[in-house]
Assembly symmetry: none
Homo-oligomer: 101 residues x 4
Amino acid sequence: MTENVAPFPVSDDQDTQDEQPKDTGGIGGQRLMSFIERIERLEEEKTALMEDLKEVYAEAKGVGFDVKTMRKVVALRKMDTEKRRETEELLDLYKSAIGMM
Amino acid sequence: MTENVAPFPVSDDQDTQDEQPKDTGGIGGQRLMSFIERIERLEEEKTALMEDLKEVYAEAKGVGFDVKTMRKVVALRKMDTEKRRETEELLDLYKSAIGMM
Amino acid sequence: MTENVAPFPVSDDQDTQDEQPKDTGGIGGQRLMSFIERIERLEEEKTALMEDLKEVYAEAKGVGFDVKTMRKVVALRKMDTEKRRETEELLDLYKSAIGMM
Amino acid sequence: MTENVAPFPVSDDQDTQDEQPKDTGGIGGQRLMSFIERIERLEEEKTALMEDLKEVYAEAKGVGFDVKTMRKVVALRKMDTEKRRETEELLDLYKSAIGMM
DNA sequence: ACCGTGGTTAGCTTTC
DNA sequence: GAAAGCTAACCACGGT
């Protein structure tokens, strides 16, 4: 119990002197901001990729393909891939279970 | 009506001789596959980014931050950004609505 | 695995004698229809509300307001409301995260 | 051209004396607020209905029905209804076209 | 370990 | 036909 649920890490080596200029909002503030910024950077990239995807679909549509159908195709292929992967995992599981690995 | 519902573009300059070796399923098949592959590549990258995000959150959690709270903070910061953008758009909208643009 | 994917509840005390008069299509049929009808009633009401909304916008337009701008205003007000709500939730979250609740 | 695109109606009988106490932001402000409030009221009701719907689905799920399948059923029934309605509209059209109404 | 909840993402509808 | 807003499906997380 008494788990670590704090919204900020409670450093044991807590500053006994607040020497840091421009502490961004107290305990762990800088470290938190660092994480937040990494996250926001990744989300930006993700957003960019989503826009790229939309563009590809738009281009395909522009040359006459039906977008809705294409999405279906992609979804089906994804399902196939996952199915296959799971099947292979199961196979590995069996093999290791009988000492074949 | 008369919509374009075909899952492939119906080229007018359709090959009269099917000279292509390995035609991937007929009319437009190769072009379609090219799009599909571009899409799948982008989706892979997106998935990778999402995994990176999870890792960052996990790392933050590992040093004591509360993930749920962090997500909330990120969401609120995003809302701020969007709010600002939309407010500016609204201003433009007002301006165009009253003929100031 | 072994999920509940049946479109109807599989009663364990399954009828050993099919004595029900007018069973609407098998096991649980009547109960299902009851749910469906409740749902359809609610959706009707929803549709009616959406029509009312369109009418209000149309009336506003009729007296000279710009609908697009109005929608934007409504959306921004909604964002404000949500922002406030979420901010309060975040506060609670912080409090619970640091054990203040 | 020069249509009515203003975000507010430009009354010709515009108040020459601003006698109204608490005018909500100038020209047409009160009238606009009235519309906005009607809209927000309707949207609240809509939201409430959507919550009711979720509850019904939840209840159905609670007794063992598969929600996704139920949604499909509802959607299909709706399609039927619309199909029928359109067919009837077409019939009316024919009838009026040949002077039967 | 599973279920239920909440949040995110994708698809569809409607508008312009 | 394109863009936006809304709705429904999906997924990851925490609780039991």
